[in-house]
């Protein structure tokens, strides 16, 4: 009796197909073949739907309107270009020193920047010290863009069973074991990561900084994924990693810069040493802030790639 109920339950849950053995003829489904007539019929139906249901057929009025629209658009663009060129022709000459752009603000950044921020690279000192609030907003813009892309493109895991097949298809489409790509990536990826870390850490000494270094590291991660597949990256980069890295970097940026702004605005003594100009460990908060920005940018680049490619990490 128990055996029978077990068998029945198995059959109900479709776990055991042995009951069908010899009782049913199981055959693979053949691929669907279409005759020429049916294809013609289908195309005619499509045209019919296009014309009657959606009324997308090109009437004469639509064509005339389209021509008028295009000519008007070109005339508008030419008009805007003419006006902008007139404005450009009255601007001060390029490369001249005496123009209103070179005012006391940039003079202050150049003359006092090294003493006030400790950064040899004046642009980095400007964007991460004088205008650090602006850079904080930029990092937040990147984070918000990541969140919206996640909302729009992330695949719902519980939704449909046929989406699992789609995912498997993506994995099949990956160039697995592509020897040339893998050999190249073995050499290139560590070099790219090292170069990105160098650019981030030397942001206050040489050209570069958090944004460019983060973009380089993100490109290295994307190369790694394309060479070795998502199975390798899942081990160290999941959705949780993205959340933790970007949010903690933004939080640290916010707290550190709040301290600096608070002490600066109230003329209190700041406990952050500026260090000796030109050394790696110098210029106060600029190095940690560069690292934060670089982490946010790298994570954002990689998340964009994953979302556009597959819809999940």
């Amino acid at each position: 009796m128990k055996k029978l109920t077990n068998k029945l339950l198995n059959w109900l849950n479709a776990e055991d197909t042995s009951v069908f053995d010899n009782a049913m003829e199981l055959k693979m489904q053949e691929p669907k073949e279409e005759k020429e007539e049916t294809v013609e019929q289908r195309m005619r139906d499509r045209l019919h739907i296009k014309d009657e249901v959606y009324s997308e057929s090109e009437t004469k009025e639509v064509k005339v309107l389209r021509i008028i629209y295009r000519t008007l658009a070109i005339i508008l663009c030419a008009f805007i270009a003419y006006n902008l060129l007139i404005a450009v022709s009255w601007l001060p000459r390029t490369g001249e020193f005496d123009k209103p752009v070179n005012n006391e603000v940039s003079a202050r950044y150049i003359e006092k920047g090294l003493q006030e921020t400790g950064a040899v690279n004046i642009v980095t000192g400007m964007i991460l010290d004088y205008r650090a609030f602006d850079t904080f907003g930029e990092s937040n813009v990147l984070n918000i863009a990541t969140i919206t892309v996640l909302i729009l493109l992330r695949r719902n895991k519980k939704k449909l069973p046929n989406e699992i097949e789609e995912k498997e298809n993506d994995r099949l489409l990956e160039p697995k074991n592509d020897v040339i790509l893998q050999k190249a990536a073995t050499f290139l990826v560590p070099a790219i990561f090292l170069f990105g870390i160098y650019v981030i850490l030397n942001g206050h000494l040489s050209p570069g900084g958090g944004f460019s270094g983060g973009a380089i590291i993100g490109a290295g991660l994307i190369l790694y994924v394309s060479a070795f597949g998502f199975e390798k990256t899942e081990k160290f980069f999941t959705e949780k990693t993205q959340k933790v890295i970007s949010l903690s970097a933004l939080l640290f940026y916010c707290l550190a810069k709040s301290y600096s702004f608070f002490t600066g605005a109230n003329e209190l003594e700041s406990h952050i040493p500026l260090g000796k100009a030109g050394a790696i460990l110098s210029s106060g908060l600029i190095l940690p802030l560069n690292i934060c920005v670089g982490l946010v940018v790298a994570v954002t680049m990689y998340t964009f790639y994953c979302m556009f490619r597959k819809g999940e990490f």
């Binding site: 000459r93 150049i110 090294l114 642009v123 930029e138 556009f308």
Partner: protein, 124 residues
């Protein structure tokens, strides 16, 4: 026309690029091409800002040998503005491309006219 059009040919090129991008936005029906047009407009603005900060004969704003004179370095402010612009452009492009992917999944086309026609038919 003013006197400085030939001296400012870089700015003139950036303005023409801007208008090419704008024409792309107006003339193309394909959403991806519209996004490319917007990116051309962004790039033209970076070119314009970089040229506005340039001073002939001056070097990049990185302090060398302790020289801290206005006569030695170019203006650092437009460089910072270009940085901001690039970040915003990347974010906006990613957002627009993901919206385009959603539209394509819903309507199976990238043609904006066709999408708006179907929207009208659906009563939205």
């Amino acid at each position: 026309m003013g006197p400085n059009l030939w001296a400012n040919f870089g700015e003139a090129v950036s303005m023409i690029l801007f208008c090419i991008g704008f024409a792309n936005l107006l003339l193309h029906k394909n959403l991806i091409k519209k996004i490319i047009g917007l990116n051309i407009m962004d790039s033209s603005i970076y070119l314009f800002l970089a040229l506005k900060g340039y001073i002939a004969g001056h070097t990049v704003p990185i302090v060398v040998d302790g020289v801290q004179s206005v006569d030695a370095y170019i203006n650092p402010i437009p460089s910072g503005l270009v940085l901001t612009g690039i970040v915003v452009s990347v974010s906006v492009t990613a957002l627009m491309l993901s919206l385009t992917i959603r539209l394509y999944r819903r309507y199976q086309t990238l043609d904006l006219d066709e999408i708006s026609k179907r929207l009208k038919k659906e009563g939205l």
